[in-house]
Symmetry: C2
């Protein structure tokens, strides 16, 4: 599965922004710059790389923990990660899904990570020392602008997620979720047919503020309405995009 998504990502010709880390050498090909889109020239790429090394996490691995002394932040090259928080009593809320091109572990509070990070698939990401990155960004206006742009994108997505959590009914939430990750995976070239959720029902439930059972029932309703078709546990075929978007209030 993670192999599949990785292959799909590999075909990407452009992931995003002024600092496309897919352009950076990865563990298997140090010294070779793919440089698929070139807002950063080779010299600057090399400079960025000098303090940001590639790293790989297995599916399910913890990338960082809330409260843990702040370390590097990451920019995803392949795979999908979840950012979440756990309350003392075990309640858990996934706060964001992060795909190739997204940053992860950027937020900090009093010198500690603000949220938890976990790899949903195998994940490969570049690690950046934030102090050095900030210094570098201070001299590269377009990199700073790209950072602001990325944060804006994340903030917009968070706002939409708040609408989903605060106002939508369970089936609406699930419909919204499907449209959302379909668009996300497509945009980041993780897309395949059928759509692979890359999350189990539990993780989806924690993202949507529901329980596993409710998520399952919502999938059932959408299937009854012939809006989707379920294939195994992880794959979904969207039969009626328009109706799904309609239900999901997208």
């Amino acid at each position: 599965m993670s192999k599949g998504s990785k292959a799909a990502s590999g075909r990407a010709t452009r992931i995003c922004g002024a600092w496309d880390v897919s352009a950076l050498p990865c563990a298997r090909c140090v010294g070779r710059h793919l440089n698929l889109c070139k807002p950063l020239d080779d010299k600057r790429l090399a400079q960025l790389l000098s303090f940001g090394g590639p790293r790989v996490w297995a599916k399910g691995a913890t990338m960082f923990r809330a409260g843990e002394p702040i370390g590097p932040f990451f920019k995803i090259r392949f795979g999908i990660a979840a950012v979440f928080r756990i309350l003392d009593d075990g309640r858990r809320q996934v706060v964001a899904l992060r795909a190739p091109g997204d940053c992860l572990g950027y937020l900090e509070q009093d010198g500690a990570y603000s949220f938890e990070g976990q790899a949903l698939t195998e994940v490969e990401a570049c690690a950046f020392d934030r102090r050095q990155f900030d210094i570098f960004a201070a001299q590269k206006p377009d990199l700073a602008a790209a950072t602001a742009e990325e944060l804006s994108r994340a903030l917009k997505r968070a706002g939409q997620a708040m609408v989903v959590l605060g106002q939508l009914k369970s089936t609406e939430r699930v419909a919204h979720f499907l449209v959302e990750i379909d668009a996300l995976y497509r945009e980041r070239h993780v897309a395949r047919t059928p759509l692979s959720l890359l999350m189990n029902r539990n993780q989806i439930a924690d993202y949507l503020g529901l329980t596993v059972e409710t998520v399952s029932r919502a999938f059932g309703k959408l299937r009854e309405q012939a809006v989707i078709k379920l294939v195994g546990n992880d794959d979904v075929i969207i039969l009626d995009h328009a109706k799904l978007r309609d239900i999901g209030k997208v």
Copy 2:
């Protein structure tokens, strides 16, 4: 009420960040630079001001609408504003509360505002043309850094709000809300005793993803438990901060 908060804000010696707009001349005192904290020197302040004028909205006024062609963004000097989205069927979710020092209307999508903005109290803010601001920021690394910092702060708050909406029970949400705005108003020098909510039950409900009745009942429960005391419709005295934080999972 808005007059009170304004007076309180006026006493602030430092609001935040590298571009404290309270340092900019306001409508009533053009040409005079308060310059309370001085990360920007006078020349740069003047430059910023040349494309960002002060503006005032009455309590309840709409500052911008989602989908409306993008105009300036704003940085609040006095007052409190709400950022929200309305669904076709009238459901409404407040996505963020913005206090002095916060930016507002920054997010855009395809050349239109992403959310709606409304003044909860009388609001005074500086308007900035984003194109000119971006150009300016590109030459001022510390301003770009301050923008990223501000976005990070907003994103962190959004993440916490998602936990509230996704996981907390109604009373927990209201407790969390009280702690949150108490801290916010305090931090931005809007604070007074007793705590003024500056929002009616309907607005609180729309922020917490609840109904007016449920919010009212939650206030009732907190009052019964002697955690708070209600004074009129808009003021709250927090009797037991520790317990309130505990209930609100802060």
